[in-house]
């Protein structure tokens, strides 16, 4: 049970060994996978440009959230350009 301090130390150590995002596009001899976000984002009506299922995903540009002041709902800002 790492303490929060130990957890943050371990995360910083990961910077030295390279981040290994978990659950992205991957394939082996018998299967192909995509991140769950693609599926759930589509279900929730999000704009999934950041998570389009291309074979080689790249670093995702993180944008600040847009929060609807009336509903408190978070939605996506429109993006310019295409991900293709």
């Amino acid at each position: 049970m790492p303490s929060q301090f130990e957890l943050l130390c371990a995360i910083r150590f990961d910077r030295l060994t390279g981040l290994r995002p978990y659950g992205h596009f991957d394939h082996d001899a018998t299967c192909m996978t995509g991140p769950k976000h693609v599926h759930s984002d589509a279900l929730l009506g999000g704009n999934s440009q950041d998570l389009c299922p291309v074979e080689h995903s790249h670093a995702m540009p993180f944008e600040e959230a847009f929060e609807d002041p009336w509903t408190g709902e978070i939605s996506y800002r429109p993006r310019s350009g295409s991900n293709g």
């Binding site: 929060q4 130390c9 976000h37 959230a65």
Partner: protein, 619 residues
């Protein structure tokens, strides 16, 4: 005393959408031959040679599932057929009389256990009743509170986690095994870690994703097969009826025990406290292993009792445990996994749960290396480290000297020079280049010293028989040999001709393992490598000598190790396949003492899982 005896039986539930029927088989091939889309299957393990339940009889019978029960506590006088399952409802009783039913339900009530009862006639399930001892509870705010919505692309991942936390909480109550403490701690520590300003966006996303993966698997593995059983199928085909909740809890208990031990040891806090300790007169890496300075327990003797000077950390993250066919033994910052094969085969050398300790060691070592190489809010100050390396008197604290020891060891890993002009940039590159190798090497040494009590034969056998189950690792043989040598070399640091002694002893041990496990492909390859690349291995071992000394002298505390090994009792009284008192306190010691089978043995594995799940008395 209850004894697992009588092999394995299989029960299959079939449904045509209207009626449900239950069948029993003695052979697995017969059980799967008639599987249909709605069929579900699980093994059950007879106590005292109970025959397969006679479901096809025209007279009315009852199948009663009770959980969670330590088999040594079962006391039934009326003679129902008794079986164990790997599900959360781990006790299965086949009752043919009303007296047996009454006694079974009274036993469940007295044990404050969940139960489910199927009334059966001619194989048809006529009625299902169940009872859970814990009424539903509303999840506390630590679990229901919204996560910060910091980045748009996190939203699906955050929503998944928010729903998952609440449903996990509810599932634990529905199963009669509330997880308030660990789930609240996980949720609360995860949230505050996510809000730490030192984390990048990608690191936040990684924490979220890892948490989702780990929790979702943990939930279906722990709570499949809970009441109503028919509504909670398990994704493992061979356990689709009753699930693997017992094995899941057994694995979790190993992790929880280790967390208790290492939380109490406060290894990372002790190293952190060296910032307040005056430096030694000489650089630590220059002090010979023969020197009396290393005779003492470094971390214990240079730090005061931490309770007097440092507050206990308020937040901890209990790591989530689960089985994975793909990941095998693996650890991340939030999870520990074991191969799904261990469910049926953990009694064997190839799939022994002892290997979990390597992953538990990674958790400690990653935190220690992060503390030393990447202090909070800044990359290590290599300009200062370099100046201390050049002029040791500049070290202001023992912590800095420990940092220099480690960095020097990393530089040694791939430098053939005895002295070299270095810039801070070179040192940065050295750290980046060697961090992963240092992580793996130190983890091997840490595991060997703390969890194997520096027992070379047991360690080498465990490593090389479990590696035999991983496909296509031929290219890793040289580094696996080097890491094994590093671990056992900690026993030879004070010997003359130590490198040769270490290499020769590994050759002797692997030769013996090869005789015993004739089909192990990598042992043969390792021996060829040891014979054909002896000079290369001598250089590899020498280049790692500082790292070995760092791990042995700085990270190993004999007192903490003794506490880990002492924390159990009565272990010598355990007899395989028999359940008796006393219960154990130390699952790691239990695993150390479990005799290992050469081939997988499902019954012995079920015995191990039941002890780990219900025979452990954690503090």
């Amino acid at each position: 005393m209850l004894r697992l005896a009588g092999g394995t039986h299989f029960i299959v539930l079939r449904s045509d959408g209207v009626d449900r029927r239950i069948f029993s088989y003695k052979r697995f091939d017969d059980a799967i031959s008639g599987l249909e889309g709605r069929s579900r299957l699980s093994p059950i393990f007879p106590i005292d040679n109970a025959p397969p339940p006679a479901f096809s009889s025209d007279s009315k019978s009852h199948l009663i599932f009770i959980g969670s029960i330590y088999p040594g506590d079962i006391l039934l006088q009326t003679g129902p057929n008794i079986y164990l399952s790997l599900g959360s409802l781990n006790l299965v009783l086949f009752c043919t009389t009303e007296e047996q039913v009454d006694e079974a339900l009274a036993f469940a009530e007295k044990s404050n256990a969940a139960w489910e009862m199927w009334s059966i006639s001619a194989g048809k399930i006529l009625d299902v009743q169940f009872h859970t001892p814990t009424p539903p509870q509303k999840a506390p705010p630590e679990i229901t509170k919204q996560f910060s919505r910091t980045h748009t692309v996190f939203l699906p991942t955050i929503r998944e986690l928010e729903a998952l936390l609440i449903s996990t909480y509810a599932s634990s109550y529905a199963a009669g095994t509330p997880q308030d403490e660990s789930l609240s701690a996980f949720s609360s520590t995860l949230r505050s870690s996510m809000d730490d300003p030192s984390l990048t966006a990608l690191e936040q996303l990684q924490l979220l994703t890892l948490s989702n993966v780990s929790l979702s698997r943990h939930v279906w593995q722990t709570y499949s097969g809970t009441s109503p059983i028919i509504e909670h199928p398990c994704h493992f085909s061979t356990h689709s009826l009753l699930g693997v909740g017992t094995a899941s809890r057994g694995l979790e208990n190993i992790v929880r025990f280790s967390e208790q031990v290492y939380t109490a040891s406060r290894l990372v806090d002790r190293i952190q406290h060296l910032r307040h300790v005056a430096p030694h007169s000489k650089p630590l890496y220059s002090i010979s292993s023969m020197d009396s300075y290393w005779q003492r327990d470094f971390l214990h003797d240079v730090t005061p009792p931490l309770e007097d000077v440092v507050e206990l950390p308020a937040k901890h993250l209990p790591q989530i445990s689960y089985f994975s066919g793909r990941d095998g033994f693996r650890s991340t910052n939030v999870s520990i996994t074991a191969p799904s094969e261990t469910i049926a085969a953990c009694s064997s050398s190839s799939w022994t749960l002892q290997t979990v300790t390597h992953e538990l060691s990674h958790t400690q070592v990653r935190a220690i290396l992060g503390l030393l190489l990447y202090p909070p809010h800044q990359v290590i100050d290599t300009t200062h480290i370099l100046s201390v390396m050049e002029k040791p008197s500049l070290a202001k604290t023992l912590f800095e000297q420990v940092q220099v020891f480690l960095v020097h060891a990393l530089w040694n890993l791939n430098s053939k020079a005895t002295s070299e002009f270095l810039t801070p940039k070179d040192l940065d590159a050295t750290i980046l280049q060697n961090a992963e190798e240092a992580n793996e090497t130190i983890t091997h040494i840490f595991d060997f010293m703390y969890h194997y009590n520096s027992d070379e034969e047991r360690y080498v056998r465990s490593l090389w028989t479990t590696w035999a189950t991983i496909p296509h690792i031929e290219d890793r043989i040289p580094s696996y040999v080097a890491r094994t040598l590093c671990a056992i070399h900690t026993n030879n640091l004070r010997r003359q001709n130590s490198y040769v002694v270490t290499i020769d002893s590994l050759i002797a041990m692997l030769t013996s393992i090869k005789e015993e496990f004739k089909n192990s492909p990598y042992v043969e390859a390792a021996l060829e490598h040891l014979a054909g690349s002896r000079e290369w291995l001598l250089i590899a071992l020498k280049s790692r000598s500082l790292l070995i000394r760092f791990a042995r002298h700085i990270l190993f505390s004999p007192r903490i190790s003794a506490e880990i090994l002492r924390a159990g009792s009565g272990i010598e009284e355990f007899k395989p396949e028999v359940f008796a008192e006393p219960k154990m306190r130390n699952p790691l010691l239990f695993l150390n003492n479990c005799p290992l089978d050469k081939a997988p043995n499902a019954i012995r594995s079920v015995w191990i899982w039941h002890y780990l799940a219900y025979g452990v008395q954690l503090k």
